[in-house]
Amino acid sequence: MNQINFLKISSVLKKIIIAVTGLSLFLFLIIHLLGNITLFTGNPPGKDFNQYAHFLESFGILFTIAEMGLLGFFVLHLSTALYSNFINTSARNTKYAVSSYAGGKSKKTYGSQTMVITGVVLLVFLIWHVLQFRLGIHYDTTYLDFNDGQPIRDLYKNVTQEFTNIWVVAGYSVAMTMLSLHLGHGFWSSFQSLGIHGRNFTRITYSISYLLGTIISIGFLLIPIYIYSIN
């Protein structure tokens, strides 16, 4: 009794942690996607994108703190989700011979039942993604009218090098399909996990959930497809 046991967080609290971190990651994705629009603009190509990347890095320590925070949210999200899933699996030792869908008010979908699978694929993808770009080869470029003509990182070159490889584009397509499924259940579910429920609110968030997931995934996927097609 009264012994502090950090692993014994209540199921409800676990779900709140998954939802808060999940929604924050969702918000990050939107900002990330909006920032990446610079890949499509700029003359010469890549100028806007490289300047945007340089602008972010110019925050120095603040940028590092933001990155670490993001990493922390990821770790918290997936460790809580995986731990929760481990308990869920042991809550039914004997499986059903037949399982089905009751229909009606049910929101059990392919996406909702594959959160761990899509999540783990996303994790593998994200490690690869960070290695490709954030920790990728450092090329330099200069723009006479920017940064006093001093060299800045040519991240655009990394992007074009990667996305001219059809296998990389294929890998991103798989990952983005996983993302659309994960967010398809995750978006409306986060609000429910936080206790935000209303007859209309829940109906609307649920009905746009898979749509939102798909729009964001397609948005990201346009980048490798566009770069591949112009090179």
């Binding site: 209540s10 199921s11 409800v12 779900k15 709140i16 059903y96 049910s106 936080l194």
Partner: protein, 249 residues
Amino acid sequence: MSDVISLNLQVWKQSSIDDPGSFEFYSVKDISIHISFLEMLDVVNENLQKEGKDPIAFDSDCREGICGTCGFVIDGVAHGPLAKTTVCQLHMRHFEDGQTLVIEPFRATPFKVVKDLVVDRGSFDIIIQAGGYVTVSTGNAPDANNILIAKDNAEDAFDSAACIGCGACVASCPNASAALFTSAKISHLSHLPQGKIEDDQRVKGMVEAMDDEGFGNCSNHAECEAVCPKGISISNIALMRRNLIKTIL
């Protein structure tokens, strides 16, 4: 259309808690479409007993859909294919002649199979004991309408109180979570002034008991609401979470 049908039943048979159990096949004929699913099993059992065979054990009491004693899974759906209906109120006219049905007990680690389709739902009692009540001083019964309750609150409380504790929500949940049952009991009392004052200790105690009993965590599949014979809404689960957040803030 004929008034009798034949069915092929694939029923889970398990002699005791420790028996691993297996499916048994029964071919049943001349079942009136006007009887309930449990009455159909009664007919099967009568014939089995005549042949000196072990009948299929299942739970039932009221057979009116109000006590929550009956329940098993038919073709992967708790309480069978008809929404808002317990198996005791599910009539055979909803099935087709020659149909094969797989009948399994409610499955969850905390719900031990006692025999065939009979499961021990004692974990629900433990959850109730952890806070599913109001503390009142005993004595004379208070006057009616001493405490005024708004109509909407009374209606909401009644909607939640409709839960009959059958366990279908747990059975249908991919995670074997007891969130719908527990939250229905929490909401029922939380909507009323008599219950509201003990909100904090109730939600903490009942959620802890639910976790300790070994139920899974709710992933918002909402399959529970779809199979619930009383149509208990997952809005109850949201209320439980709000109440728990309030204890932290």
